[in-house]
Every structure is written in structure tokens, then in C-alpha cells.
């Protein structure tokens, strides 16, 4: 760790008028892009990177990090207001955010999401600033065997999210498994289910698929519902006169501190391990919280704990993701990989020498991150009124424009019309799954986790030479596997009520 002088000088570097302006602008851009269904942070970053070429280094990276942070907060908004999450991580937020909004408390739901998101992000930033290096080293110790055990745990814990019918939930998850295996197989490099199409070699584009399933599928479902039965199409009541429905008091915020802290720890740990990502964190945290609760049936009906669990965890990943990035030069997910490229363009080489060679700059970046969290809070407070207003527009305006944006987003992130086709097919599949009661969430989780599961499984077998006893040398993996057994036998089926409310 560099001198205190360097740390302080670096932190102060962040506090210039130009930097503050760019941080606020970045957060605002991120929130707007995140809040529009179909547009994602990834897209915002890809577009923002070339815009920063002419800025100086600190301003440029501060701006990009702010876009990233703003996007995380903004992503919750369409999930809450329209039930159309653009990314898998905000899908977990929709599970309780949308029901709460439907009850006439959209402002309250958005505020819960904002506060817990900022809490998670800020806390994980502090972890990054204080203990990044040792934490990164610990995360490195988790090899294929441990990651495999972690994936098994994730699958078992998440089984709590399959919906009303276990059989249908498992079918949906298995479908996710199957769809995830399209493309070059991760170990041998042989194409699977590609039907001679080069476009399928890298698998189905994740953004387009999730936009289709989660956002467009829901739009279809809402349009169909609105024509068939007017009552399901009730627009969200925005201007509730009861002030309690529009605010979140400190007491209400603190009421879920246990949930939020656990979610923050989960998010930070998952963020520090490269390759797992915020979707895993959001769902895992939501599911753990639901299963650990005394009244799991309350979840899915607009429970603030659900929002707290999902938002704190997926935002905690954003800060923690920089841990392996800055200390080891290993990007934890796609947005971190985009940030690396921007860092390199601006002359920052993430890796083991970064703190030594460019300590002041790194602490400048940390300073900017802290400021960005508060900017997020501020811009978010202001922005949510705007979104609440926008969503009050008639559905005949909202749905077509959302559809157009979803297509644009799919086109841009996958680099062509192929993404749009994938999105449309996924939307139809998503609509049918909703209609017949198959859990979209289970499908998406299956899709997101499978490649990592498969790769770790094959790597673990190669490393241990197929020797089952070699497993004994991996105590962390053993602990994780025991945990998953516990979650299956103890937490899972017993707490399931035969006829749950949803």
C-alpha cells in the first residue's frame, strides 16, 4: 500500500469541478440508460468509452465508472415499474419490486431499491479501498474444484425461486441448461447445436436473450392481458396521497439491516471471484433471504426484504468486481472487461504493479467512486420522479417505445440483426412460458450459470485426474457441498407450502 500522502493526494485529485461534473453526468447517463428497458449498462459503456478519448485519465475513468454505477441503480427502475428487467441481475429486484409498485407504492419501491443499491455499492467500495489486495489473493485460491462446489450450491439454493410447481421450475431450468450449451463447447472447442451457423458459435447472445425473455416477453404478456381482461392491465397508481407510500423512513431502512448486510457480504464475495457476476449475486441473495425468512410466502408480494436482498447484493458486485481487476488485471465480468480496455487506452495497466506505479491515480479513482455513490443517491432521488411520471403515460405509448428500444438494444449489443431475431424468438418463448406457468427466472439462472458449471466441472476433473479422493484436499469445496446438501434437505422442500399465494 502506498504512502498516506499519496492516498490523500489521490483522493483529493478526484475533487475538482471538472471531475465532479463528469461524475454527475456519468451517473445520470448510466441511470437513464439503465432505466430504459432494453438498453443496458454494457451498451452505455461501449458507447461512452470512445467519448472519453479526449479527456484526461482520471476524468475519463471516473466518468466510465460513474456510468457503470449509475446503470446499476437505473436497472432496477424498469423492473419495478414495468416488470421488464433488461438484465438478469435486476430480474431478482422485479420479484418484489413490481408487486410493491402494483400495490400503489412505486415511489416507495424505487426508494428502497435506490437506498439499498447505494448502500451495497458504497460498502463494497470501502472493502475495495481497504482490503483489495488480500481479498484478491484469497479469491484466487478458489480453483475449479471450489468454483464447481459453489455452482452446485448456487443451483440448490436458487431452487427456491422455481415458482409454484417444482416440476415446471425444473423443466424451465433444464431448458436454460440446454440453451446454454449452444455454441463452441468450453473444453474441447467442438461446436454444439450450431446447425452450421457461424453466428451461433459463441452461443446465443446473452443480452438479446435476456431482453427478449424478461422484458419483451413481459410486454407481450401485458398487452395480451390488457386486451383480454381489463383488470390485469391496471396502470400503476403513481400519485398516492398517503405520504407513507412515497417515502422510506430511516426506521424502515434499518428494519432490513440484517438482510442488507448479508446481501452485501454475499455480493462482495461473489464480486471478488472473477467470472460469477451480479446476476448470480442478486438471485443467490434473494433466494437465501427468502429461505431463511420465517415467512417465505411473504416474498413475491412486495416485501421490502426482497428488494433489499437483490439490490444490495447486485450493487455490491460493482465495487467488488474491481478487486480482481485492479490487483490482478483479471476482469470479473463483461462490463469490467470493457473498463479494462478503457483503462489501457488511457494508460492505466491494471495488474500487480498498478498500486506501486500509479498509486495516486488509483486513489483518485477510489475518491471518484465514493463521490459517484452520493451522486447516485442525489440523481436517483430526482430521476425517480421523472420515471414515475413517464410510466404514467398510456400503455399504447409505453409498450411500443419500449419494444423499439429493446430491439435497438439487442441490435447494438450483439452487433447485428441476429440479436434482434434471437430477442424476438426469446420473447415468444418467454410469453408462452408465462402463459403456462413456467418460471422465467429459473430458465435465466440455468442459462447464466451453466457455462461456468460446465467449465469448472471439466477443469476439476482434469486437475484431479478424475480421482474422487483428491476432493479431500479441498476443504472449502467440501464445506460448500455440505452447505448445498443442507439447503436441499433442510431449507428447501420443507418450507414449501403446497399452495403458495402467488
Amino acid at each position: 500500500m502506498p504512502d498516506l500522502n499519496i492516498i490523500i493526494a489521490g483522493l483529493l485529485d478526484a475533487v475538482t469541478l471538472t471531475n465532479l461534473l463528469y461524475i454527475f453526468a456519468g451517473v445520470a447517463v448510466g441511470q437513464i440508460v439503465g432505466a430504459i428497458p432494453g438498453l443496458t449498462i454494457l451498451m452505455a459503456l461501449a458507447i461512452a468509452i470512445p467519448l472519453t478519448y479526449s479527456l484526461d485519465t482520471l476524468t475519463a475513468v471516473a466518468f466510465l465508472i460513474s456510468v457503470n454505477k449509475g446503470g446499476t441503480v437505473g436497472g432496477a427502475i424498469p423492473s419495478i415499474l414495468l416488470n421488464t428487467p433488461g438484465t438478469p441481475e435486476s430480474a431478482a429486484t422485479a420479484l418484489d419490486g413490481y408487486p410493491m409498485a402494483k400495490k400503489g407504492k412505486p415511489m416507495k419501491a424505487m426508494k428502497y431499491a435506490l437506498y439499498y443499491s447505494v448502500f451495497g455499492d458504497l460498502s463494497s467500495d470501502i472493502v475495495l479501498i481497504t482490503v483489495a489486495a488480500p481479498l484478491a489473493l484469497i479469491a484466487l485460491q478458489l480453483g475449479p474444484v471450489e468454483i464447481l462446489a459453489l455452482m452446485i450450491l448456487a443451483f440448490t439454493v436458487i431452487s427456491g425461486l422455481v415458482g409454484d410447481s417444482m416440476v415446471k421450475g425444473l423443466i424451465a431450468a433444464a431448458l436454460g441448461f440446454l440453451v446454454a450449451s449452444v455454441g463452441i463447447d468450453p473444453t474441447q472447442g467442438t461446436p454444439r447445436f450450431t446447425f452450421g451457423m457461424l453466428d451461433l458459435y459463441d452461443g446465443l447472445p446473452l443480452s438479446a436473450l435476456t431482453i427478449g425473455l424478461l422484458a419483451v416477453g413481459e410486454i407481450f404478456a401485458q398487452i395480451a392481458g390488457a386486451t383480454k381482461d381489463a383488470s390485469t392491465g391496471t396502470p400503476i397508481q403513481i400519485n398516492s396521497d398517503n405520504p407513507e407510500d412515497n417515502t422510506v423512513t430511516l426506521k424502515e431502512f434499518l428494519a432490513n439491516k440484517g438482510v442488507a448486510i448479508r446481501a452485501f457480504v454475499l455480493g462482495t464475495v461473489i464480486g471478488a471471484i472473477p467470472g460469477l457476476g451480479s446476476a448470480t449475486a442478486g438471485f443467490l441473495s434473494y433466494s437465501v433471504t427468502k429461505q431463511a425468512a420465517k415467512d417465505p410466502e411473504a416474498f413475491g408480494t412486495g416485501d421490502p426484504r426482497g428488494i433489499a436482498a437483490a439490490e444490495t447484493a447486485n450493487s455490491a458486485v460493482v465495487g467488488a468486481n474491481l478487486i480482481p481487476l485492479l490487483t490482478l488485471g483479471i476482469p470479473g465480468n463483461i462490463s469490467a472487461a470493457l473498463l479494462v480496455s478503457a483503462f489501457i487506452i488511457h494508460g492505466i495497466q491494471p495488474g500487480p504493479l498498478l498500486f506501486e506505479q500509479q498509486g495516486r491515480l488509483v486513489y483518485g479513482l477510489f475518491g471518484a467512486m465514493l463521490i459517484a455513490n452520493f451522486a447516485n443517491l442525489f440523481v436517483g432521488q430526482f430521476g425517480m420522479r421523472l420515471w414515475a411520471f413517464a410510466v404514467g403515460a398510456p400503455n399504447s405509448i409505453i409498450f411500443p417505445s419500449a419494444l423499439l428500444l429493446c430491439m435497438t438494444g439487442s441490435y447494438i449489443t450483439s452487433g447485428g440483426f441476429f440479436g434482434v431475431f434471437v430477442m424476438l424468438i426469446a420473447a415468444v418463448v418467454g410469453y408462452l412460458m408465462r402463459a403456462f406457468g413456467y418460471s422465467i427466472v429459473a430458465f435465466v439462472i440455468g442459462y447464466v450459470l451453466t457455462p461456468q458449471l460446465e467449465r469448472s466441472l471439466s477443469h476439476a476433473l482434469l486437475i484431479t485426474d478424475g480421482e474422487i479422493m483428491a476432493f479431500l484436499h479441498h476443504p472449502i469445496a467440501i464445506a460448500l457441498v455440505i452447505l448445498s446438501m443442507v439447503s436441499v434437505f433442510y431449507l428447501g422442500p420443507k418450507k414449501r407450502k403446497p399452495a403458495s399465494t402467488k
Binding site: 461501449a46 458459435y201 480496455s341 452487433g415 447485428g416
Partner: protein
């Protein structure tokens, strides 16, 4: 003072305006070309090495020639999606593809679905050679390729994390020649492969860029250079050729055109590309990537591609 500055600035502006058209002549371009923006289609996603190189070249071209370049990412199948599209593009010199050598020299033989071969394109030149190395954690008991082979033989097997077919193929070649059992762990990408090595989960890894920082920080060491010459950051590590195995991983960033672009436009683009690769802006990017600018030129890159394509074609025909 102020006025003189303003005057200077205006003079500079006028000078640049005058310089732009004249510098276009240095690349010997036909009359009236280009009269609209040129499309750069990049075979990899935004944020990768190829993307950074293509965009740096595009920026240099805009500055030096005064052209307008529109960069587009068309990722998928290791550049294959871009190349398949480029093959269909109008050969008018307004669509230029950027990808890696493997896209044209390896993919056509590695996958039956590839609709092209390297002969379906014309090549303008290259931008950078990737410095592949076989690297391991600094505290491993072996320091050279030979010692690593001994270690693998003594232990019965050793693990190597890689990130692509060309690297896998190289490990196969080592196994065949020395009778070793090097087990390949294919990662999601080079970062994934590096992570396995840094966490001490594998015995060695093949890397093309990210290892340089690790070596400079003293965390890793290079056992062998996998290209055809030694590298500055690890001058003592021999190439495999020096160790007696005629195997390399050759990768260049390639700039290509669909077949049939008029010869004078090709000459113009190749000349402009060469100027761009030699520019300061591009050189800066190279410094950051711990590499050097290298343009083999239209003839040089075509020969290199042909040579590698022959190797892969023969090996994969089995």
C-alpha cells in the same frame, strides 16, 4: 499576447487544412477516393486487443489522411462472423475488415461451417504481432522449457491452461514430440487461463499479453517464447525452435478486403495503413500493450497467412 495566440491558432488551423489534402497524396490514392466514410468491421467485440488496435489505426487514418472512418464490431466465431460478412461485401474499398491471423489461417480448417478460406480476401497489412509465451508462477521449481518437460515427465502429468485452439494445438505438438502428458485446461479467455495459473491451480499457462505485467512484477516467469524470436521482457527465455521443436503460435492483427477491390485503391489503403501503424498515436498504444508496431505489408502478411494455413490444413486434415 492574446491576439497573437489567436493568430497563431488560426495559422495552425489553416496549416492543418492545407496539410490534410496534401498528406493524402503521400499514400497515393486514386482521384476521388474516398468520397464517403470508410467502414471498419472489427471481428472481435468492443474492449479487446484487436478492437483497440483497429480503433487506434482508424484514429490515425482520420488524422493523417483526413478520411472519415466508421468502426463497427462484428464479433463471433473468432472473427468468422465478420469474415463471412466481409466476403459478401461490395469490393469498392469502402469496407475494410480487421481480425486476427487465426480467423483466416486456422478457422477454415478447424470448422466445417466456415464458408471461406484465406484466399477469398486480399490483405492490406498488419498492425501488431502477439507475443505468446509459456509462463508459470515465479516460485515453481522449473525455470526453462526443458526443466518443465522434465518436471512433467517425472510427475507423470502437468496441467497447462490455454485460451484457444492454436494454443491447444501447440500443447499437442509438445506432447507428441516429447512424449509428455501435458493436460490442457481450456479457459473462457486469456484472463480465465491466467487466473488458474496465478491461483496455482495449474502448472503453467499460455498467454499473449497479460503475462508481461506479471513478469515485470516478479510474480511469474516465462519458460519459453512461443513465437519465432525472443522478447525484450524475458530475454533469457528461448523460443521452442531454439529448444528443438519447430512450433510457434503466430498471430498478427490483420487488415483485409473482400476479393476484387481495384488495385489502385488497394495500394492507397495499404500505404495509408502503413503510415497509420508508424504513427505516434499507434506507437503509444503499443507501449501500453507492452508490444511494438509491426506491419508486414500486403505481401508479407499474405505469405505468413498462407504458410500458417498450410500447417493447420495439413494437421487438421487427419
Amino acid at each position: 499576447m492574446k491576439i497573437s495566440q489567436k493568430l497563431l491558432r488560426t495559422a495552425a488551423l489553416v496549416a492543418t487544412l492545407v496539410v490534410i489534402p496534401s498528406s493524402a497524396f503521400s499514400a497515393e490514392c486514386p482521384e476521388g477516393y474516398p468520397n464517403k466514410p470508410i467502414n471498419f468491421v472489427i471481428g472481435y467485440g468492443a474492449g479487446g486487443g484487436t478492437d483497440a488496435i483497429a480503433r487506434a489505426v482508424a484514429a490515425a487514418l482520420e488524422k493523417q489522411q483526413g478520411w472519415v472512418i466508421v468502426s463497427n464490431n462484428k464479433p463471433g466465431a473468432g472473427g468468422g462472423v465478420m469474415a463471412a460478412g466481409l466476403m459478401q461485401a461490395k469490393p469498392d474499398g469502402y469496407t475494410v475488415g480487421t481480425s486476427s491471423l487465426g480467423t483466416v489461417a486456422l478457422n477454415p480448417y478447424n470448422s466445417v461451417d466456415t464458408p471461406y478460406t484465406y484466399e477469398d480476401f486480399d490483405y492490406l497489412g498488419s498492425g501488431m504481432e502477439t507475443y505468446y509465451g509459456l509462463v508459470a508462477l515465479a516460485d515453481k521449481p522449473y525455470n526453462t522449457f526443458e526443466e518443465f518437460i522434465d518436471f512433467a515427465k517425472k510427475k507423470g502429468r502437468a496441467t497447462v491452461s490455454v485460451a484457444g485452439f492454436a494454443q491447444q494445438f501447440l500443447v499437442d505438438q509438445i506432447n507428441e514430440k516429447y512424449g509428455t502428458k501435458l493436460v490442457i485446461l481450456r479457459g473462457k479467455g486469456s484472463a480465465d487461463a491466467l487466473q488458474q495459473a496465478l491461483g496455482d491451480h495449474v502448472d503453467a499457462t499460455i498467454q499473449g499479453a497479460k503475462h508481461v505485467q506479471q513478469i515485470k512484477a516478479g510474480k511469474m516467469k516465462q519458460l519459453a517464447s512461443l513465437i519465432d524470436h525472443r522478447v525484450d521482457y524475458a530475454p533469457d527465455s528461448k523460443t521452442l525452435i531454439e529448444s528443438g521443436l519447430d512450433a510457434t503460435i503466430v498471430s498478427h492483427t490483420v487488415f483485409m478486403l473482400p476479393k476484387g477491390v481495384p488495385a489502385d485503391i488497394q495500394t492507397c489503403l495499404a500505404g495509408a495503413l502503413d503510415e497509420a501503424v508508424k504513427s505516434d498515436g499507434f506507437g503509444e498504444l503499443m507501449t501500453r500493450l507492452e508490444n511494438t508496431a509491426l506491419n508486414l505489408g500486403p505481401k508479407g502478411i499474405t505469405e505468413t497467412i498462407a504458410k500458417n494455413a498450410a500447417v493447420y490444413k495439413k494437421a487438421l486434415a487427419k
